[in-house]
Amino acid sequence: MIHAAKTTLNALPGADDISRVELPNGIVILTRSNFNSPSIVITGYVAAGGLFDSDEKAGLADFTALSLMRGTAKRNFQQIYDALESAGASLGWSAGNHTTSFSGRALVEDLPLLLDLLSESVTGPVFPADQVERLRAQLLTGLAIRAQDTGEMAALTFDEMIYAGHPYRRPEDGYPETIAAIQRDDLVAFHKRCFGPRGMVISIVGGIEAQKAVDMVTEALGSWQNPDQPAVPELPPTTPITCLQRRNIPIAGKTQADIIMGALGPTRLAPEYVAASLGNNILGQFGLMGRIGDVVRERSGLAYYAYTSLNAGIGPGSWEVAAGVNPVNIEKTIELVRSEIGRFISEPVSAEELDDSQSNYIGRLPISMESNQGVAASLLNLERYKLGLDYYRQYETMIRRVTPQMVMEAAQAYLHPDRLAVAVAGPVNGDGAEA
């Protein structure tokens, strides 16, 4: 048997094996070949998202994204999906605040098909009226299901609290009344106005040479233009939470309550982001969900899950704790979490804890990139945040540079046990008592 393992360093993508090409119309193409695989992943985004939505039509960007493959100038809905599914391929769209993203995969032999459908759906959707109404019914049912989901309702309410007055407070999939209000003409207008090649990024990873991939994308999308494509709207400032705020969302008939609590977090490009991320790992992820998992799940047996997440993007992020608990344990869990947050901002983490998390970050990086999909997503991150093509090669040094003091300072900048938004959804009364 041949033994030809690469070293860890060389297994990670870097400037010598990532190709980055910008087409004259602004589309950026990132590729990395992987000839171990006869398949291909293609993922990316256009610079149009929920920031362009109004409050009255919240969810318009997502509705538009999900309509793109309901019919194009060249194919109807069934023809689009017949082509895709016959090839065992997939392609789908969804919208976030800043971008509308796509993701697809196919056998290498079917990459031309995938690119044709990508091009047709992004440049020539026709929004057939019957398909728009069918999709609307699906979206409204999705929102009715969301209204019954304790985790989703707690998360949605939490965002409304920490992003009060900011466009991030709106759920990307909108509200029943806004989805009901959106007209087909709104979708057409949104697409016509906001979609364009400038800011579009396409990441292709799999069994294909970079130049060949670039040639194929150029043929599919190189001539696309939208001279009127607007700049992404500026983000207004956010207002940090200044006291302990609580909202209960009663959902009758449920057995368990979901708690989301936390505050604003750093942007992805904030200087303290890496320290905050490692701190978050210590607080609520490492091992079986870090310190918070240890105190809430392991030591107190209060929950099946209790963990933290740091959601950092282009704009202000969030730093939040999630737990699913029996309603009788809600207040106890909130107090335990507040106490852990208090400890987290007042004492530096131990050198051992930090070393554990640093080793975890460095060791798991190659695991996150073992598939084409993982690499493709990593390449998109490089471009979205302008991290540089050698970012993953320098990752270990960057992670090791963080000290316990840096973690504490990052935590102090965002977290405080008396300045948290707390959202609880489930079998509770609106006033905070157990139902």
């Binding site: 997939s90 091992g287 392991e298």
Partner: protein, 431 residues
């Protein structure tokens, strides 16, 4: 598909080892599979397999809980465990140089877990909390009612998580006895895939696992479920606005001859299902017969289905999410019409070729991921053997229109099914 080289070995203590070299990334994924699941539980002890799986993270003298919790994460690995109807499994995927830790840890907890009474008490609440989280989901409640009703005799009767009353009453020794009975090298398979030399890895495993004592191989009795005499209908009422319909047919076990043709039938009816537990991704089902008949005809907002690979005959289920402006009876009629079409008319050879290509594509997607490859090295043995996996695409490609017709006529009979409806509170029953 091209033949694969895997190394198979049996140690003198009965442990089976499956190894596959993959040198595309500096990683190794290591799995330990035990032949025990919720199928092996008796009334009063339901959920014990799953709770034991939780307790296996609670420490041994060598790896106390606070050490065990951190050991794999510290080395940059990911690890987890799963309990299902037929099996329980534990895995670690790690940088290749760190794999000795996974072997040592799994060998240690195969025999040395403590089951401290305080940890048992704390974990009781965690497991109950896991169940309560599931109870929040309408489809869990409907699925549980369907499973309870479908199996009167066979131990597939109950959900893996177990009945709440049993979770409240089981004691430490119930868990420990279960552990000691089933966690034996002669009741386990160790599978690893990744960046290693297979002979060197085998030698390492012989050293670490070879000294573990074997025990009496646990019997795995299960009474066959007698054939159903009539269609069963049930309703579950609960919160919400959305009506779900579930139709479940008694289906062949994974190793039965009809399973492959049934897989093709499912692919045409409800869309292709992915084999991959990790990193595979699925493909949509918008050209499937049921999507066209139910969603495109505006009776439902979604439909899906799936066949489970199980040791004994289990269920083939179809789930319909009803449009709020439609009646249960309308959707069910449309479904029945499509089933009848499957029973009355041969599908075309082209449709079968298409299903085979979809399966081939998803098979290839899954092979990118080392964890997924290692998963299959052990998983297939829980209901068949590894050739079940390697021959999967070829078996599907060999299915004929007559096979699909026969399977539709044999298995999709009304008396062989259950129809369950989740009726949201406040809605009138519309069946």
């Amino acid at each position: 598909m091209k033949p694969e080289t895997i190394l198979k070995a049996h140690l003198s203590n009965g442990l089976t080892i499956h190894l596959k070299e993959i040198h595309t990334a500096p990683l190794i994924s290591h799995w330990v599979w035990y032949r025990v699941g919720s199928r092996d539980e008796r009334p009063g002890r339901t959920g014990v397999s799953h709770w034991v799986e939780h307790m296996q993270f609670k420490g041994t003298p060598k790896y106390p809980p606070e050490v065990l919790d951190k050991a794999i994460s510290r080395e940059g690995g990911v690890w987890n465990a799963f309990t299902y109807l037929d099996w329980t499994t534990y895995y670690e995927t790690l940088p290749a140089a760190k794999i000795d830790l996974a072997l040592d840890l799994e060998a240690d907890r195969m025999v040395n877990s403590i089951y401290d009474p305080e940890e048992v008490a704390s974990e009781r609440n965690v497991v109950i909390s896991e169940r309560e989280g599931s109870e929040n989901e309408p489809l869990f409640r409907l699925g549980e009612a369907m499973q309870n009703s479908a199996f009167r005799v066979h131990t597939y009767h109950h959900e893996v998580v177990g009945e709440k009353a049993d979770l409240q009453t089981m004691q430490r020794d119930d868990l420990y006895d279960h552990y000691r009975t089933y966690y034996l090298p002669n009741n386990a398979i160790v599978a690893a895939a990744g960046d290693f030399d297979a002979q060197e890895m085998l030698a390492k495993m012989e050293k670490i696992y070879g000294g573990l004592p074997c025990g009496a191989t646990p019997p795995r009795p299960a009474q066959p479920e007698p054939p159903a005499q009539a269609e069963t209908r049930l309703e579950v009422h609960g919160p919400g606005e959305t009506t779900y319909i579930q139709v479940a047919y008694h289906a062949p076990a994974a190793n039965e001859a009809d399973f492959a043709a049934f897989t093709v039938l499912d692919s045409l009816l409800s869309g292709p299902s992915s084999l991959n537990m990790f990193g595979g991704g699925g493909i949509s089902n918008k050209t499937s017969r049921l999507y066209r008949a139910l969603v495109e005809k505006e009776l439902a907002v979604g439909v899906g289905g799936g066949l489970q690979a199980t040791l004994d005959p289990y269920l083939y289920d179809l789930t319909i999410t009803l449009r709020p402006d439609r009646q249960v009876a309308e959707a069910q009629q449309a479904l029945d019409d499509e089933i009848k079409r499957m029973q009355d008319h041969m599908v075309s050879a082209d449709e079968i070729h298409r299903a085979a290509k979809q399966a081939r594509a998803m098979f290839i997607y899954g092979s990118e991921n080392i964890t997924n490859q290692a998963f299959w090295l052990g998983y297939a043995d829980m209901f068949a053997d590894y050739t079940w996996f390697t021959g999967y695409v070829d078996r599907l490609a060999a299915i004929t229109p007559a096979d699909v017709l026969r399977v539709a006529q044999t298995w999709l009979r009304p008396e062989n099914r259950l129809v369950g409806v989740y009726v949201p509170d406040g809605e009138e029953e519309t069946a």
